[in-house]
Structure formats: structure tokens, C-alpha cells
Symmetry: D2
Subunit: 346 residues, 4 copies
């Protein structure tokens, strides 16, 4: 039984980690930290976990955390980078669910996140934790940058096309829709039920922090610059991201069936990507509470624009589930351990 700790356990990614780890057969949670709730029982904040955990929230001291084999940082941006060096020295493996290690280009990172990086040298060492790309590297990694939620949905929908050079990489459109849990559990007016329910809007059109992550990773896959217009939207639901991706085929003669075959082959050994039959429309609820990404391909009216639909649960495949997946790989466990819950629908 391996021991894991969670830093910043009161947010939605923290509680989702707790939900998933409660049934993981090979690890146990030895500590969960929260400065604001230190001393309180986890189940007093999250009654849904009553009977599952005896733990109290504690202060995030290195002493506490260094007892763990793996530490998850479910903290705001800028926290993990301060604590990571010490913990890595102590031999602890780290999975950061925030953005501190997601972007290799430090200048780009600083520009978008508005701070100096506290350990730029570690960024190069960090492995980008998208198992469908970096499975082998993750197995060897000491420090994993868990991908952003939007970048996960977008990359999985585009990677096969970009890797094979099938689309015009200058003008991709990623129109993405997220449930409100993506905004976190912080008390913000914009996330109030009366502000977000029964309404729909775009936000951050001028520029969202997940844009440079998407661009960097797609460009790495492509071997050169990829141009993406990325527009996130707030959808009146709790969980779920739906990416609608538009890409122009380089060769109009490429058949949709061949692309379907490409996607199926690309993901056949990846248990958390489901390439649906042609003509499907994945619903976010079909992955609610699960680590699955469902993808469907369309070529409307036979024109040269390909439409790829990609749906994930932002808190699972877009955050905590992918983090557990990465942990499984880092610890040499089976990929799917603790991640086999069936989606909750309706």
C-alpha cells in the first residue's frame, strides 16, 4: 500500500481526488492539507465522504508531506513550484494539478501566469502528464505536470490529425464549453448559481491561460508552430467539457472513414479514450464522474472542414482522474486502477 498526500484539499480537484482514491486498491491517503481548514475533519467539509475518511485537514508542512510516496498539488498556480524542490530532494514523487510545470517556455509561462517561476530548472525535468502521449516518460517521471482541462479535451481531439499532418495547422478553431466547476470552489460572484445558471456566455476570448499550453503541446506534436483560435465558454452545468474542433483538411481527398480508422488505431491501447462510431454526438453526461474521453468525428456536408467533438469530465479526465492515472503509471500500477467507475447518467 503506497501512501499519497494531497496539498490543498478543499477545492474541487482535491475532493475529487479523495473520491477516487477512497476506492483505490493500492494507495491510501496519509495526509490532506489545507491552511484555511486545518484541524477540521474532511467529512465536515465534504459530507459525501462520510464513512470514507477519518482524516483531518492539516498544515502543509514538508514533514507531513515527505512521508508520502506521491504528493498531489491541488493548489492555486504558484504553490507547487515553491514546495516541489524540497520534496523531490526527499524522494517524493510529485503530481501538480495546477499549471506550474505545464509550459516548457518559461517566458511564455511568466507572461500568462503573471509571476516569476520559482524553479525554472525543474520545468525542463517535468513530464507533461498526458498519458496518451507521454506514457513511457511518465512511468519514469519524478515530477508530472497534470494537463489543463481544456488542453486535455483539445489535444485528444486533434493529436492524431496533427501527428499525421492531415490538417491545415494554421487555422484550427477550438470552441470549448466548460461546466462551472472549472472555475473552482472559490467564492466568486461569477460562479454563483444565480449568475451562471440558465445562461451561457463566452469568456476570456482575448486570451485564456490554456491557450499557450494548447499551442505549445500541439506545436511539439507537429514539429512546428500550430495556430489555434481558442474560445472558452461557461455552460450552466456542474461538470463536463465539450470541445468542438474545426480543422481544414490538407487533402480534401482524405476520407472520413480513413480518419476514423486512424483515430481508432491511435487510441486502441489507451483505455480512457473512446472513439465513438461515425456520426455520434458525445454528451458530457456520458462521461460524468469517469476518466473517459469520448470523441466523434464529422465532416459536415462533405466539405473540407472536419469537425471533431471531444467530451470529458473536467474534474476527472481534466484533473483528478488524469492525476490518478499518472500516479498509477509512476508507481508501476495498472493504468486503470481506481479509475473504473461507470459514468453517472442520468
Amino acid at each position: 500500500m503506497k501512501k499519497v498526500a494531497i496539498v490543498g484539499g478543499t477545492g474541487y480537484t482535491g475532493v475529487e481526488l479523495l473520491r477516487l482514491l477512497a476506492r483505490h486498491p493500492s494507495v491510501s491517503v496519509c495526509a490532506i492539507t489545507s491552511r484555511s481548514e486545518a484541524g477540521k475533519a474532511v467529512v465536515d467539509i465534504y459530507p459525501s465522504l462520510r464513512g470514507e475518511y477519518e482524516l483531518n485537514f492539516t498544515e502543509p508542512t514538508t514533514d507531513t508531506l515527505s512521508q508520502a510516496d506521491v504528493v498531489f498539488f491541488a493548489t492555486p498556480n504558484g504553490v507547487a513550484m515553491k514546495q516541489a524542490p524540497k520534496l523531490l530532494e526527499e524522494g517524493v514523487k510529485i503530481i501538480d494539478l495546477a499549471a506550474d510545470f505545464r509550459i516548457q517556455d518559461i517566458d511564455v509561462w511568466s507572461h500568462w501566469y503573471g509571476m516569476e517561476h520559482a524553479c525554472a530548472d525543474l520545468v525542463a525535468e517535468a513530464v507533461y502528464g498526458l498519458p496518451e502521449v507521454n506514457q513511457e516518460a511518465i512511468k519514469q517521471a519524478k515530477l508530472v505536470a497534470n494537463p489543463g482541462c481544456y488542453p486535455t479535451a483539445v489535444q485528444l481531439g486533434l493529436l492524431p490529425l496533427i501527428e499525421q499532418g492531415l490538417i491545415d495547422t494554421g487555422h484550427i478553431v477550438a470552441d470549448c464549453k466548460s461546466g462551472v466547476s472549472g472555475a473552482g470552489r472559490g467564492a466568486a460572484v461569477g460562479s454563483l448559481m444565480c449568475e451562471a445558471a440558465d445562461s451561457f456566455k463566452a469568456y476570456g476570448v482575448a486570451g485564456h491561460r490554456h491557450l499557450p499550453e494548447i499551442k505549445e503541446r500541439l506545436s511539439l506534436a507537429h514539429g512546428s508552430h500550430v495556430g489555434v483560435t481558442f474560445v472558452p465558454h461557461l455552460t450552466p452545468m456542474i461538470r463536463g467539457i465539450h470541445a468542438t474542433l474545426y480543422a481544414k483538411l490538407s487533402q480534401p481527398s482524405t476520407s472520413l472513414e480513413s480518419i476514423q480508422a486512424l483515430f481508432e488505431a491511435r487510441y486502441q491501447n489507451h483505455p480512457f479514450v473512446d472513439v465513438m462510431p461515425l456520426g455520434s454526438h458525445p454528451e458530457t453526461r456520458s462521461v460524468r464522474g469517469s476518466n473517459m474521453c469520448r470523441i466523434a468525428l464529422h465532416r459536415p456536408q462533405g466539405e473540407d472542414t472536419l469537425v471533431i467533438l471531444s467530451a470529458i469530465d473536467n474534474l476527472v479526465k481534466g484533473a483528478a482522474g488524469q492525476a490518478v492515472h499518472n500516479m498509477n503509471l509512476m508507481l508501476g500500477l495498472a493504468e486503470t486502477e481506481g479509475l473504473n467507475s461507470v459514468p453517472l447518467a442520468p
Copy 2:
């Protein structure tokens, strides 16, 4: 590995059975029937189950069903009573998730359900499947009547008080609120999102079919007639029932603490009832997707009216989960097998 079949698998209780049974370690689903969808793959109707089932819907023939050790009827009222005699003869155990065997008084049943009973003699044999009351009888049962969703929430909140004669049984108020899934997957205008969302209403105040069930079971527990005013309400959410129960203490001197102790003792060996600390307010989402019933006790302003709050997921503890619980008991399995999923919150 025991074999189970589901009759009427396209409704919400049917798909919820499939979700729960997909991870049950000791049973496998050998057949799922639907007259309207016969021939179609289960996963074409329920993409959330992709990868979980290879089954197609089939016609509900006795031949098909008699191969199962247990058959679940997730059908409209009046279906199970027609097929039950034959299947029981074949040695198949039956769990009816509809109302055909819930009420012992056949006249009362016919009055409320508007039809003659097709096998009145079997009703007396049927065991009312509330494991917190009938655990031992269920273990021996061949035919179990799975309780209604409202009756489950109401009984669990009142039983300890009624069994101990602590409240005025003449004037109990059960103000109950249900999510829309309680109305089923039938295409009805009243269940449309545009009719049911962002609104709240009572319905069936003059009389709801769960009233005679509640009255009969509470009266059996009490030993004589219990008077209940039961008002169901439609709440703009998918899953969940919240019962707010009002009862006058027979003896105002009875302390709330002693009642709390009584509830804790009453349910200590029942894994699916969680008596929360005094002063709690159970949320339905704290049991979303799980078989748990959470109960909290209040005595507002120290007056003689007791308020009991009882929350369940209507599709799990109020239907499919309780049915699996009953199946576990009938098959001699551990009570909690296949029922240990952690509630999905948020």
C-alpha cells in the same frame, strides 16, 4: 457468478441497475429486455455504458428470463404480476421495482393502481424489501417488492420513533421533494426540461400512490393506524429525494439527544443509513449515485415538534440500489457488494 436479468431495461431504474451491476463482483447480467428497443445494443441507447456491456435488448420471453437466478422487473406497474407466477415456478427469484407487490391490502392496491391484481395470492408471499426492517425475511424470499422511493425516505426517517411509540401517530406530516428522474424516462410534457427546470411545485396533493404504501408500512410498524399527510413536490434536479418529516413528541420531556441515540442504535448495523450529527442538514448531492440514506434530527426552538430530514438518491436507495441490496441478501452475498460507490459531489 450468478446470472441476473432485467425486464424493462430502457427506463431510468433499468439503466441504473446496469450501472451498478457492471461492477458487481458476483453477478453478471445475462439478459436485458425491452419490447420497444429489442435488437438494439444497450450501449446505443446508453452511451455512458460503452465498453461495459455487449448485450442487445431482447424480447421479455420466459425462456430468456428463466435462465437467470434473479430477475429484476424495472417495468411499469402491472407487468411483473403477470409474469411472476411462471418465473417463480421455474425457480427464479424476483425483485419487482414497481408497485405490484408493495401493498398487502389488495383492495387498497386496486383502488390506487386502478386495476385488478393478477396474482393476489402471491402478494401475501412477497416480502417488502426494506432491508432495514425485513433483512431476515428478504434472505429467505423468492419474491421481493422493492419499496417506493418516497416510502423509503419517509420510513427510514420515522421508523425508530414509531417503533418506540415516541410520537403522535395521528398527525405526521411528510413534505417530500423529488428530482425529475422520479417521473421516469417516458416522454411526458411535465418532465420536459423547459417545464420542470428553474421552477418548483407540489403535485398529487389530493392523493399519491405512495401514500397507501407509507401508511400501511408505518401502521404495521406501529401496530395500529398511523395518520400521515404526504405532499410530494417536483424539484428542478435530476436525482434525489429529500423528506422533511414533522412529528409531535408524545412526551415533550423526551430529549433530542436521546432520540439521536435511539436512531444511532437503530441503524448501527445497517450500512446504508447514516445518522448525521445533531444539527446537520443532509444535501441530496451528498448521496448522489450512492445507496446511502442520510438522516438528521432537529427540534426547532425546543418546541414539541420534531423535524427529521432524510435524503436519498431516488434511483439508488429509492430504486436500483435497494434492489441490488435485496438481491445480495437473497443470494447470500455480502450486503454491500456492488454498492460501495462514493457519492458524486459536486
Copy 3:
């Protein structure tokens, strides 16, 4: 054209006043104040009002406010009582949408609101602004206490019965359900969409501030103490309150038809109470955005417990609409001026 000002205009009751007053033919808004947003344009905070108002938020100085004929306080509790004396001296009429003047018993008020009253003498002068009770007094009033949202729905459902002595006033149950806008626009975790959506819970069962208001007003109507068990619930919708009221008939021989006739007579000259036909179930959406209260009466199973259903829009009849109604009366205008919008359904 009379001039009105709004103090505390950034909350939901403030913006609702702006919505209603934008179309009021006899008044214009001369000032709207907000310490936190002073200097900003109203329409930058509320784009739904673009084209309706040129106003900026300003500081709530007495100079600004004393230019108005009527000042609405849409502020937290404890603000109006500090500014009211000065403004009344200046001849300004005041309508307080908070609780400072709702309760005549100052000790009770201080107990529940946790502060000393700043102008206890004015409380006696204040008129409780429920037009269906105090219409004539409101016309003469200089200071009106706009009722709470729950107390409005509860009183309108019970007053005819209590005034006529038809029910047991010792054991009334008021089971009330509110949309999330009742919690205001403050950034609180409990009001986040991810906390409040797709879930249902009771809150404040031990005691809610609207309880003493309900008790005092019903007791005044009755002439002696009325006992009420009041349980508020949070419902996953934006607007709306639904009160389900349970009362035992003093005389079981009283017919439901006679009570229906009583309600119809009681409210026939009150344009904002709609007594629906017997057997109706008012939906909150049927009053969405309007100042109407819809009421329906039931006597389930012919027993001696009466069930009264009462539905309002908490932001209109439960707050801003009732305040405009009170203003109309105070200014000698027609009752319904500016309040004739048709409910928005679906």
C-alpha cells in the same frame, strides 16, 4: 414624475428594483448608491439594463438621497436604521427592504439580528408593508418595513384562516422552499452553482430570522400567540418561493369549498393575490418576474389537515415588487403601476 433613490444597488433586490422602475410611468430613479462600485456605470455591472439607465453608482450621502421623494434601502440589515432618522427629518419617505423595521418587539429583533437597534423609537412608527393587510396605513406611512420573502408567502397563505379562527394555531407547519437568489449576490461558497445546483437541502432548521417575523405578524392577526414550525429549504433554481403550509382545522366540519370562498373574498380587491381553482398546484415559474402570489387549497383525503400552497417570485412579491407596490401606495399612485409584467414561462 416623482424621484426615487436606491441605496445598495448592486445586490439582487437592487437590480430588480431597477428592472421594475425602468418601466414605471410615474417615477424616475435619480440616484443609485454603492460604496464598492461608486463611479461605475450601472450597465457595466448589469448589462441586461443597457439602454435603460445612464446612471453611475454613487456614494450613499444624505445630500444625494434627500433629493428623492422615496428612498429604497436594498442594503444589508442594520444599514437603514442608521440613515433613516436623518432622511425622515428631511421629509423623505423610506422603504426598507431589509429587516430593520420588520419586528415590533425590539428585544426579539436584537436577539435574532445580533445587534442593538439604532432607532428603536422609529420601529413603532414603521408600517409593516404587506399591502394585503396594511393598505391604508401604508398610504399614510413615512417609513415602511418591506416584509421578508418567506413571511410574505406564508402570511398570504394563512391569514384568511387565522383571521377567521378556522385552524389550530398551536401547530402550524410552514415548509418553505426558496431559489438561490434569496441568499443574495454576495460571494459565498454555499451559493455557488456547483454547491447549490442539482441538489436540495434544508437549512436553518434550528431557527431562521424570518421565524420571529412570521410569528409576530400571525399572532397580531390572531390576537394571541401562534405556534409555527418553519423549515426553509434551498432549491436549485434562481427565483421563486413555494410555501407548503399545513394546518389542522378547528372544526372538521368546515368544508374546503367554504374555505375557498373565504380566500376568494379575502383577496378579491387585492390585485397581486390569485386564488387558484381548488385542486391546483401553483408552480413558481407561473409567477416568475411578476408581483403575483398564487395560492391553492387542498384537503388531502378529506382528513382534518388543510394544505395551502403559496408561490411567489422572491425577488418581486418577496422583495422589489412589493416595495414598488408600497411606493405606489405611499405616493398615491395606482397600486399596479409599473407592476404589470406578465410572468416569464417557460
Copy 4:
């Protein structure tokens, strides 16, 4: 006082017409028809209209309808084309809220709507009722084809650019999101709250009936073929459409400020289009219940892809409100009569 009749009054566009017309100062509803509900009072189906209408639903006979000055068809596709010729002969003006007269190319229409056109000659006579384009023609029209909801949001967002030839018209992307009311009040499983709430999906990606309408109208504005990839999505809300439009600038040197100025000039005399300040993100709730279309322009990261956001209430500007706007023009009334309700937010 002009007389209007509504054919097919039980759907959402029918009841929305009733809501708007209830306060229209210059017209009165003389008849509302429904085969299925004939004989029933309107307010029994729509309690939100209690006190507003005395009307009963009637059969849609020509006798009844020919008494009206204007008849609205709020019926399924294929109904208006059968009744229109007779009514036009009788001198009645017609506004069809369905699709019978929206598309000039009859073959295209038949292909997408799957039926022969019953009066192809009238199609050429019909005026496409988008007042921001055809204001003068609508004033003279006897037969108006009220635009589709998606086409309204999309055209208003693109027309200024297309009219001025500023964008690449070969590869426009229209990613559109609609509330569930767009699917109508028919009892369909996909519109159930339990299917549509708390989830998000695309639908009709292969081809949606609003695509040929969008293409034809944009091509007419452009003078030659316009290529559009149109993907509609179902959003878990009741009302609202949000179109996110992507277009490549023909000349990258065109400044966003100049485009903003162009939009402001284009719509300055059109009271129901609000061009918001640069950088805005219109929310659908900011137009809830109103006839307004709010538009905002973006040019993310200064690249050559323009993003236009366009939000309407699908039942108002996307249906009933635009129909009343058209009626006002046809009857020589002020454009905004009966259409000045303030959006309901929150």
C-alpha cells in the same frame, strides 16, 4: 385596435406570442387555435397567463382566422403553406414562425424539409422577416417568413462583415448553442430534464435545417456563395442562443476598432441590436425575455481570425418577438410597440 389570431397556440412560440401580445397597446388577440386543446381555456394550459386572457383554444377554421388582421402561424413546418393561400385571398396578413417560406430555393427547401411545397409560387412573394435587413419590404408584405432562431443570431453577427466584403466567405464557422426550448414543447425523450440538464452536446452536425437558410441569406447579402460550417449544440438552459462566429479577415490590416465602428453604424437605427463595447462577452441571460440581440467583437491575440459573439433569446428575437416586430412593421405601428420589456436577470 387591430385583431390578431394565433394558429397552434400550445407550443412555446405560441405562449410567448401570448405573453408579448398581452401588453401590446395596439392589438388584441381574437383567436388562438389548437386542435388538441380545442375547448380548453388558455389559462388552464398556461397558468402564468391567468388574468390576462379569457380565450379558449378553438379549431383553426378559416372562418375564425379570417376575422383577424394578422394571423401568426406558430405551427409545425408544413401547416402554414396549406392555409396561407386562402387567408391571403381573404386579405389577412400572415406571419409564419415555421420554415415554410424561409427559403427561396424550393428544391433546397424540399430536400431539407422532406416534403413537397404546397404553394411554391407564394414563396417568391414572401418577405424574409429579418427587420435589420428587410424593414421596408416587410412594411409592404402580406406574407412574412419569420427567420429561424439560429439564422437570426448568425446573420446579425455576420451581415456587416459580409455586406462590406471584409472576411473570407469560404470558411466561416458558426458554433451555436441553444437552450432546450428551441426543441419545442413536444414530448420527446431528448428534451426531458433528465436527458438535457447538467449535460452538453452537439447535435445535427451532419446537417441541420437552419444551415440552408443561413447559407441562402448570407449568399444573398454577399452576392455569391458563402461557405459556412454550422454546428448547433444543446445547452442545459431554458432560453437563449449564443452564436460564436469565426471568420478570417480578408485584409489583416483591417483594425478591430474600424469593424466595431462599422457594426455600430450598421445597427444604429435598429433598436433591437446592441453592439456592446469591445471586449464584452454577452450572456444569454442579459436578453432573457427581451427582443434584443447583443453582439460583441473580438480579435484574439491580434491574429487574423475575428470572433463575433451574438446572443438572443430564441423565443423572443429568435421567434415570437421578431414576429411581433414584423407585425408592427406590417401594421404601420412603431417598431418597438409591445416589445419593451426589460430582460429578466438574474
